[in-house]
């Protein structure tokens, strides 16, 4: 049976962490609180080879090598709606929405032949997968592939920048290797988050001040919003700390 899929605009996927291409992250810096999210891929993972091209490889203290994806992301708790999601569950920036949202439910960090399970709606999502929905994936190939190809191409293009950043972090925050090793050893993997300020410093972005000025009020607002929720203590700590960093960066001469 061929997988069928149609979006019903239930808005359920418009929540939580949103990986962005670097271009989209910069373009939407006034909208999304940005962070860099690291994911470890073990060498037996299906998309390991792809991950080495999109990300970087790191040798762990136990001498094993893993691939590490570093995704510029809208950094939001799982149940927080996208800031662009409107009350009618439609996207407020549909015409300019990020590649990640256009390509859904496909995911270019995985090989094209390994996308079938992404067409099965996650718990609580209301995607239409009935006989009425169109066929979108056939013989392990995406039928309308323009968005997928565009996002993949952007990711490949930005890979050298992400590698520069990884080298910086491993040099100046070497303890991160231990965190990566822990993630590699944990059955469920895990995610590690680093700040936009370290990314801006590492990549010598000339627009750092403008990006920081766009980010500071977002970080402040989210720090307030997460202040009294113990379950979001980590998010609160990051938002509050990054708010300070962004304010300072924005004020730099």
């Amino acid at each position: 049976m061929e997988p069928r899929f149609a979006c019903t605009a239930c808005g359920k996927c418009c929540h939580g962490l949103l990986p962005l291409t670097l271009t989209d992250a910069v373009a939407h810096a006034v909208r999304f609180p940005l962070a860099l999210v690291w994911t470890v891929m073990r060498s037996n993972a299906k998309s390991y080879d792809l991950a080495t091209r999109l990300g970087t490889t790191v040798r762990l203290p136990n001498r094993k090598t893993v691939a590490v994806l570093i995704q510029p992301s809208a950094y939001l708790p799982n149940h927080f709606p996208c800031p662009a999601l409107q009350p009618d569950n439609l996207c407020g920036i549909h015409a300019d929405k990020p590649s990640r949202c256009r390509t859904m439910p496909f995911y270019p960090y995985r090989e094209e032949k390994d996308q079938a399970d992404l067409l099965v709606p996650r718990k609580g999502w209301e995607c239409d997968v009935s006989a009425e929905a169109p066929v979108v994936y056939r013989n392990h190939a995406i039928l309308d592939r323009a968005d997928f190809d565009r996002e993949r191409a952007e990711l490949l293009e930005q890979a050298p920048v992400m590698r520069t950043y990884a080298d910086y972090v491993l040099k100046y925050m070497p303890w991160i290797v231990n965190d990566l090793a822990k993630m590699a050893a944990a059955p469920a993997g895990g995610k590690l988050v680093t700040s936009l300020s370290s990314f801006l410093t590492a990549t010598r972005r000339t627009d750092a001040r403008e990006l920081a000025a766009a980010q500071a009020p977002l970080m402040q607002a989210l720090a307030e919003r997460t202040r009294n929720d113990p379950a979001l203590a980590d998010f609160h700590k990051n938002y509050a700390g990054w708010a300070k960093e962004m304010e300072r960066l924005a004020q730099r001469p």
């Binding site: 100046y172 960093e245 300072r248």
Partner: protein, 159 residues
């Protein structure tokens, strides 16, 4: 006028220890520069930290993050574990104890310094440095025992 103790834990007063270096005087040794950089964090004087980075790492300095770290940490003490200099190269291994988010933390680093035109600069750091590799000498069964007994190893400690 009373002079306050220098934050770098040298036992000297701030005025005779890190004060002049923070004010722009060249540090006499790599260790003195290292101490003054710690004191700069304690006193939120990140300008001093920034200008004492060697040229090749100056652009790598994340000033915004350093200022936040300086704000959020309650600096408790600095211990210089080892300081060596050879010509214009210096190495200082140190341990900083501080509190952050209500937790006691330690930062152990072996930092490299370089003297350029008479001024010391911080050039690199290894966090949680590995010690010198331990050398294991294998003693042959028929060699003299390393305990100094004069017997063969196999007849002494190697039995």
């Amino acid at each position: 006028m009373t002079s306050s103790a220098c934050p770098c834990c040298s036992g000297l007063s701030f005025e005779t220890c890190c004060g002049p270096i923070l004010a722009g005087a060249p540090a006499a040794t790599a260790e003195a520069l290292m101490r003054s950089r710690y004191t700069a964090f304690v006193r939120h004087d990140l300008d001093h930290v920034e200008r004492t980075h060697a040229p090749e790492i100056r652009e790598d300095f994340n000033r915004a993050e350093a200022e936040r770290v300086a704000d959020e940490c309650d600096w408790q003490r600095l211990d210089v574990l080892r300081a060596t200099e050879e010509g214009d190269e210096g190495t200082v291994e140190f341990l900083i104890q501080f509190r952050r988010d209500g937790q006691d933390m330690r930062h152990h680093e072996r930092a490299s310094f370089r003297r350029i035109d008479g001024q010391w600069f911080y050039s690199a750091g290894e966090v949680n440095p590995k010690g010198e590799p331990r050398r294991v000498v294998k003693v042959g069964r028929n060699e003299p025992c390393p305990c100094g007994s004069g017997k063969k190893f196999k007849a002494c400690c190697g039995r």
